[in-house]
């Protein structure tokens, strides 16, 4: 256990002091914020088109809309940031073991004080910090942009409140909780591929190919796709709980996971992660470093 914590401490130190992490964090925050800005621009464009249409028909221009509710663009921004974050996390984890093995850093750590298992487990624990960091950075970027351009308030329709702010916060918290486990499983998936690959580039290519391949073709599996942890991740073909939260923030009454699917989202990624971690440990115990 001490060895694992030492590896975690060393890897966290390296991550904190590398420019890549700072650039990636900034990039993710910008992606999340840009998604909000894009939604705001789309709203402005819709209003401008309405004004132009009215003027061309010699009618008075409609009054400018209010700032609008921030919840929907906020969740969409967070979702966009997390979609990119998922891929970056996958790239980082796939590069991790294989790249360090290629660079000889695993040999150095191994001969000084880290067991082979600790080399894997320490990096797996680093994933928790990076996933939480990704959630925080994308959330912050999206929140900053949304609160600058919109106003947070309850979801209403025809004067009736569909979702109060407290309900929206609770739904968001549930959705984030549901996003956490599959993201961690994705990190471990990257480590697993990394332990099997010969080099960093090959590991990253293989991990992306498998992950994006599943994302593109998961619809073919129908409801069975939800037996794979990756189905619950924010992605380009999004089926995640956070995506459903985006529907809720728009006031859609049929949005949201069923209780059974939500429960599956919460527990299923853990056995996946445990299994893949075991494979990574076994492989690393046998590999030449």
């Amino acid at each position: 256990m001490k060895g694992t914590l030492r590896v975690l401490s060393a890897e966290w130190y390296r991550a904190r002091h590398s420019r890549v992490l700072a650039v990636a964090a900034f990039f993710l925050a910008v992606v999340a914020a840009l998604r909000v800005v894009a939604a705001w621009l789309a709203d402005r464009a819709t209003y401008a088109a309405a004004v132009q249409r009215a003027l061309s028909q010699s009618r008075p221009a409609p009054p400018p809309p209010g700032p609008g509710n921030a919840w929907s663009p906020f969740v969409d921004g967070w979702l966009a940031g997390l979609t990119v974050a998922t891929l970056l996390l996958l790239i980082a984890s796939a590069r991790s073991l294989a790249g360090d093995r290629e660079a000889g850093l695993l040999r150095v750590a191994r001969t000084r004080s880290a067991s082979r298992t600790a080399l894997v487990l320490g990096r797996a624990l680093l994933g928790i910090l990076l996933v939480l960091g990704a959630l925080a950075v994308t959330g912050l970027g999206s929140f900053t942009a949304a609160s600058s351009l919109y106003i947070f308030g309850p979801i209403t329709e025809g004067g009736f409140t569909i979702y109060a702010q407290e309900e929206l916060r609770a739904e968001l918290l549930s959705a984030l909780l549901a996003t956490l486990a599959p993201l961690l499983a994705t990190w471990v998936f990257g480590l697993c591929i990394s332990s099997l690959a010969r080099g960093g580039t090959g590991a990253v290519s293989a991990a992306l190919a498998v992950y994006l391949g599943f994302d593109l073709f998961k619809e073919v599996l129908g409801p069975r796709q939800y037996w794979v942890f990756a189905a619950f991740n924010p992605s380009f073909v999004d089926k995640s709980c956070l995506h459903e939260m985006s529907g809720i923030a728009r006031g859609l009454s049929d949005a949201g996971y069923s209780a059974a699917l939500y429960a599956q989202n919460l527990w299923l990624p853990w056995p996946w992660a445990a299994g893949m971690l075991l494979v990574a440990c076994v492989v690393m115990r046998r590999r030449a470093l």
Partner: protein
């Protein structure tokens, strides 16, 4: 005193290729031991097995009294500098040391500044490792190995890629480290340079251990070799063949003969050649060096019919 590193009957194969065959040697504490041999002779494979980085087929290896697969339990008492500087390129020199120290798990022993000063790169502490020259990277790798309290320092091909000045500086550094009480195991194919710092050597070729002894023993036990130029060469070869115990090891394309005189003195060899009517233009007894020891071991292998790469 137990050996710092003990390798007994090590066998390692890659598929059907046997890379290391029954290799045994010891690195006594306080020694500077060389694992010497040409490229591809099995040095790095032997070291990788000894350091718990590569599973092996047979044999027993102990590092500071622990089996090789538990090398991490030595808790930093073993430090290794691998061929090809293994650094985190995105970090500065000082950060590389801090990174290694965190893996090591304790802050005691030699400080970062001491290690950087000892290796002569104190002024580069703030530079990113990715921007360093090969020699500087090698020094940083050594500095990283020196932090904490290493007792056994293992260096794999530490001189490769260095210029003459770099080689000299590196050899001086190894000597200084040895004087500070470190046991050093160095793997290299640079025999002349290694001869200046080693106290002990194991010579390995084709995955086989040819000799293991202290440097003094190796050089004293070396049989004399003669480089002979005599014309006509065929007559010279015939004359030498008639002498008792004399072996002509090689006739080179320029008609230079490499001769093992055995009990016959160089003067007697010269006299025999002159008596046979040969014009002797050169007869050079070779000084006993690590390189000549190695060459004679290669010759012995060839004489025994073992295939030796050119």
């Amino acid at each position: 005193m137990p050996a710092a590193l003990s390798v007994r009957n090590l066998v390692k194969s890659y598929g059907s290729v046997r890379a290391v065959q029954d290799v045994s040697f010891e690195v006594p504490q306080g020694s500077v031991c060389g694992l010497l041999g040409p490229n591809g002779s099995g040095k790095t494979t032997t070291l990788s097995c000894a350091l718990g980085l590569l599973p092996f087929d047979k044999g027993a290896i102990e590092v500071l009294g622990l089996p090789a697969h538990r090398i991490h339990d030595t808790a930093g008492r073993v430090a290794v500098v691998f061929d090809g500087a293994t650094l985190a390129d995105g970090l500065t020199c000082r950060q590389n040391l801090q990174y290694a120290r965190r893996t090591l798990g304790h802050a005691g022993g030699r400080s970062d500044d001491e290690a950087l000063q000892l290796t002569g790169i104190a002024e580069l502490a703030g530079r990113r490792a990715g921007g360093l020259s090969l020699g500087q990277r090698r020094r940083l790798s050594i500095a990283r190995a020196l932090i904490g309290r290493p007792e056994l320092l293992v260096l794999d091909e530490p001189l490769s890629g260095l210029d003459t000045v770099g080689v000299r500086a590196m050899l001086q550094l190894f000597t200084r480290l040895h004087e500070q009480g470190l046991t050093v195991l160095v793997s290299s194919h640079r025999l002349p340079e290694m001869e200046t710092i080693l106290t002990r050597a194991a010579i390995i070729m084709g995955g086989r251990l040819l000799r293991e002894a202290s440097l003094d023993e190796l050089l004293q036990g070396q049989r004399l070799r003669l480089r002979v130029r005599a014309a006509p060469a065929p007559d010279a070869v015939a004359a030498l063949a008639r002498l008792p115990g004399v072996t002509v090891l090689e006739r080179r394309p320029d008609d230079e003969l490499i001769v093992l005189p055995g009990p016959t003195s160089p003067a007697a060899v010269n006299a025999a050649l002159v008596a046979a009517g040969c014009a002797v233009s050169a007869l050079v007894p070779e000084r006993s060096t690590l390189l000549s020891v190695f060459e004679s071991l290669v010759d012995e292998q060839r004489a025994q019919g073992v295939e030796v790469p050119a």
